[in-house]
């Protein structure tokens, strides 16, 4: 549930009452399920007469067949190409004329579509979104042109950016067996081969009501949403046959440190990353490790008062910036990561050795009760700021349910953080942060000792 730390800013609980033991996140949110199996989450916020309407499909890039990387994301683009009832860009034009905004995004574990619009247009949004769940029409011409758009998107996001190329290579190394190692947008040579038939087969298999989650946040209540959802989505029959199986290849326990080093003439600022395979909230042997890792990441490397920042940026001045974060929100494996920008005159390798030594010292000495309590308090306090935004809330609940969590898992997250003990934090740290489990990434200028080029 790193969604919190990622999507949110700060909060609204004061230290005095931020123990979190009885705090419920977004208490007004509720959930029900339609007869066809589609789950629905409603998050009322009556401040402005607008809604955020989101459909989450429980399918993402990690569900693609080998050799078809990018099909989930490509289909996301093609979902804007029309149906018989709403041909071409009718849906987009309708949303725009009604003053709405829209977009979509593809992740490893889910694909989501959303509109933000005045509340009176919610029924029409549901009608048109339900239509495109079943009735997508694709021509070869449209598919061919959109494939070029996706290739340009890949060029923008990845091919023109060595840091993004490093991220792809790092992930491919970090995951030895799980498809989280394949880029969401797809490898270029595989995108080039994606066809209309590939897209339609993926669509038919996964875009079904029992595989979808509806999230409506804003100026609505549960009863109103229930009636509308039954009318528009409830009439779509569920898929015949077996429930979609999301059991994907899993990672073996790492046995050897791996290193990825990218030297590129375009890189002028070295960057060091160290990552460790970790449990996630939905894939963990026990319930206490994921929240303990959230607390650990906050203590070690979240912000300007964290342990590593104080040690390396304030005291030793060997890093310009350093941080840690835990991704525990995946359906399968999570990861625990450190990043650091070395200070001038310090090599990435020197800084790596210093950070690893400091982590070893923390693991040996433990973390004080006071430090753990402070990290918990501040983590929980951050959740109040998230509750200011209906769009953030919709994303938090949608992404959590899409990886199999329940509404109460999200709402009770502050309680789970509150219950974390110092012993649990250090035990989780010792299990995850081990030298032979590390994947180290270094981004370096082309020539080791050459100064950065002065002219772009």
């Amino acid at each position: 549930m790193t969604v919190f730390s990622a999507a949110l800013g700060s909060v609204g609980l004061t230290p005095a009452n931020a123990s979190g033991g009885d705090m419920v996140f977004a208490p007004s949110a509720s959930e029900f399920t339609l007869d066809n199996g589609m789950r629905v989450v409603v998050i009322p916020d009556r401040r402005a007469p607008v809604v955020t309407h989101m459909i989450w499909y429980k399918v993402g890039a990690a569900d693609e067949a080998p050799g078809e990387s990018g099909i989930a994301h490509f289909l996301e683009h093609l979902m804007f190409k029309g149906t018989e009832a709403n041909p071409g860009d009718t849906f987009s034009q309708t949303i725009a004329q009604l003053g709405g905004t829209q977009n979509a995004f593809t992740s490893y574990d889910y694909t989501a579509y959303f509109q933000r619009i005045a509340v009176e247009h919610l029924p029409l949004m549901m009608q048109m979104e339900a239509d495109r769940m079943k009735n997508l029409v694709l021509s070869d011409d449209v598919v061919s042109s959109e494939r070029n758009v996706v290739l340009e998107e890949r060029a923008s996001r990845v091919d023109n950016d060595p840091s993004a190329q490093m991220r792809e290579t790092y992930a491919a190394t970090f995951f030895q067996n799980h498809p989280y190692g394949v880029p969401i947008i797809g490898w270029r040579h595989e995108i080039e081969d994606l066809s209309r038939e590939d897209a339609l087969a993926f669509y038919a298999r996964y875009y079904t009501p029992e595989n979808a989650i509806l999230v409506v946040a804003g100026d609505v209540d549960e009863d109103a949403v229930r009636g509308l959802a039954e009318t528009h989505y409830g009439v779509i029959p569920p898929r015949d046959g077996a429930v979609t199986d999301r059991r994907r290849p899993r990672e073996p326990e790492p046995v050897a440190e791996r290193r990825v080093e990218l030297r590129d003439a375009r890189i002028a600022q070295p960057l060091l990353q160290i990552g460790y395979l970790a449990p996630s909230y939905t894939l963990s042997d026990d319930a206490t490790t994921p929240p303990a890792l959230d607390v650990l990441a906050h203590y070690l490397g979240d912000g300007a008062t964290s342990h590593l920042y104080r040690t390396f940026v304030h005291e030793r001045r060997t890093a310009v910036s350093v941080g840690a974060f835990y991704n525990g929100s995946s359906l399968d494996h999570g990861g625990f990561y450190f990043f650091a920008y070395p200070a001038e005159g310090v090599t990435s390798q020197e800084l790596e050795a210093e950070i690893e030594a400091e982590l070893a010292r923390v693991l040996a000495d433990g973390i004080s009760e006071d430090d753990v309590e402070r990290a918990k308090r501040n983590l929980i306090a951050q959740t109040v700021f998230a509750q200011d935004s209906q769009a953030s809330l919709a994303r938090i609940f949608g992404s959590s349910l899409a990886v199999g969590e329940d509404l109460s898992d999200v709402q009770q997250w502050p309680s789970r953080i509150s219950a974390v003990t110092a012993d649990q934090v250090i035990a989780a740290a010792r299990a995850v942060i081990q030298p032979h489990r590390a994947v180290v990434g270094l981004q370096l200028p082309q020539a080791p000792e050459a100064p950065a080029p002065a002219d772009g």
């Binding site: 700060s10 609204g12 003053g99 996706v150 769009a391």
Partner: protein
């Protein structure tokens, strides 16, 4: 005043913006809303941005903004940041070209402490040497990261090309050459010169009543100097037809364009605003999006925007595409603009743009943090509170002839261009 945000749709929710004056005489805008137990305050010192940097010391305002919350009064950087973190207080500053802005977000019962820390940052910043070095190192690391990034290169080159010999030509975050030369004295001098109550605009939104807001404003800003003393910045118009090309071996060529724009108080400003939406402002719906992306698959992103900077109104835009089709992409962009000047919009197209621009306005007001940002932004552009209610009627009154007139006036200008990538073929 009370404002109904969706007059066309008849929805009844409202944002009640009240203009108030604090006991110490500071004017500010206030919205009381207790839905979420937080208070969001945004403020800006108009004109105190990077345009105030001295030549050779580019990045002074940005560096000062980064250091203001790194120690103030009795608290060194770590003590100050610890007070913020442990009390869930969000405080930050930012310098744009035009303005120095800031944000304070607190839960209702840490308002007093938040105000006290903000006041210290504004009136007694320590500018400790180690804090300056940390911030300087971080800004320089950021500049190094994007040193060879085609988009960042295009942005730098665009500033130089579109605003020659003007403060806007300079990088607001400074350069790897200028940042090391900025001294503590330079930061103190900037701080003394730039921050004055005469240029301060404030918006407070959230779980706080009028008395509480009055107290917050004075606790935070009463100690700020009465008057600033800023250097005058001249006006500049984007030159016509200047083309600059930076040769770079890239997977994708970056194209940026610009032409003179229109002043905020020009009678045709709103027509130009609607025109830009039709031409390149609307995602999924604009003429540029349809011609360049949808019909030809040339790009992932193509756009235009109408910029309201204090000293240079302009229209800007851009696209990125594979090198061998960059010339074609540029030709299509030019063709879209000239066709639009010749033919104007259709009635349906204009109506669709108006519907969107009116209907989407409430989406900017659905959280306390967004509302406070909107309200301070309006003040920094000299817009009255009444604009929120009048805006829809102003847009609705625009005709096809208005758009044609303003298109002929603005879009005929020869584009100034920046190309980063292989030479065009």
């Amino acid at each position: 005043m009370t404002l109904t945000l969706t007059p066309d749709a008849g929805a009844e929710a409202a944002v009640n913006v009240v203009e108030r004056t604090s006991p110490s005489g500071l004017s500010y805008w206030h919205v009381a809303d207790s839905t979420v137990p937080l208070v969001a305050m945004r403020f800006g010192f108009r004109g105190a941005g990077a345009t105030q940097d001295t030549d050779g010391l580019e990045g002074t305002a940005t560096l000062a903004a980064a250091v203001l919350d790194e120690g103030a009064g009795p608290h060194d950087a770590l003590a100050f940041q610890t007070l913020l973190e442990d009390n869930a207080i969000r405080l930050s500053f930012d310098a744009s070209q035009d303005n120095l802005t800031g944000e304070l977000t607190v839960v209702a019962d840490t308002v007093e402490l938040g105000a006290e820390l903000l006041s210290l940052a504004l009136t007694q910043p320590r500018f400790d040497e180690d804090a300056i070095e940390r911030a300087r190192g971080q800004i320089m690391a950021g500049l190094r990261r994007e040193l060879n990034d085609p988009e960042a290169i295009a942005s730098r080159l665009s500033s130089e090309t579109f605003f020659p010999d003007h403060p806007y030509a300079r990088p607001s975050r400074g350069s790897l050459e200028s940042l090391p030369t900025i001294s503590t004295g330079d930061l103190r001098a900037y701080h003394q010169r730039a921050l004055g109550r005469d240029r301060l605009h404030i918006a407070i939104v959230g779980d706080i009543d009028a008395d509480g807001a009055d107290a917050l404003v004075d606790a935070a800003f009463a100690g700020v100097a009465e008057a600033s003393s800023l250097t005058t910045v001249s006006r500049i118009d984007v030159p016509a037809g200047t083309v600059r090309h930076q040769d770079l071996d890239v997977a994708q060529t970056v194209i940026r364009f610009a032409m003179p724009g229109i002043d905020r108080d020009d009678p045709d400003f709103m027509a130009a605003f609607v025109m830009n939406h039709i031409v390149g402002g609307g995602t999924f719906s604009s003429r540029l999006f349809k011609s360049v992306r949808e019909e030809r698959g040339l790009t992932y992103s193509v756009y235009s925007y109408l910029a309201v900077r204090d000293h240079a109104p302009f229209i800007g835009g851009g696209a990125s595409t594979r090198p061998e089709r960059a010339q074609e992409t540029l030709d299509v962009i030019r063709d879209v603009l000239s066709t639009f000047v010749a033919e104007g919009p259709s009635e349906e197209e204009l109506q669709a743009a108006k519907d969107f621009l009116i209907g989407s306005y409430p989406l900017r007001f659905d959280s306390s943090q967004k509302i406070s940002q909107q309200l301070v932004g309006m003040q920094l552009e000299d817009m009255p509170i009444s604009y929120m209610a009048e805006r829809a009627a102003l847009i609705r009154a625009i005709t096809v002839d208005d758009i044609r007139r303003v298109a002929a006036r603005l879009l005929n200008a020869p584009l100034s261009l920046v190309i980063v990538g292989q030479p065009l073929t």
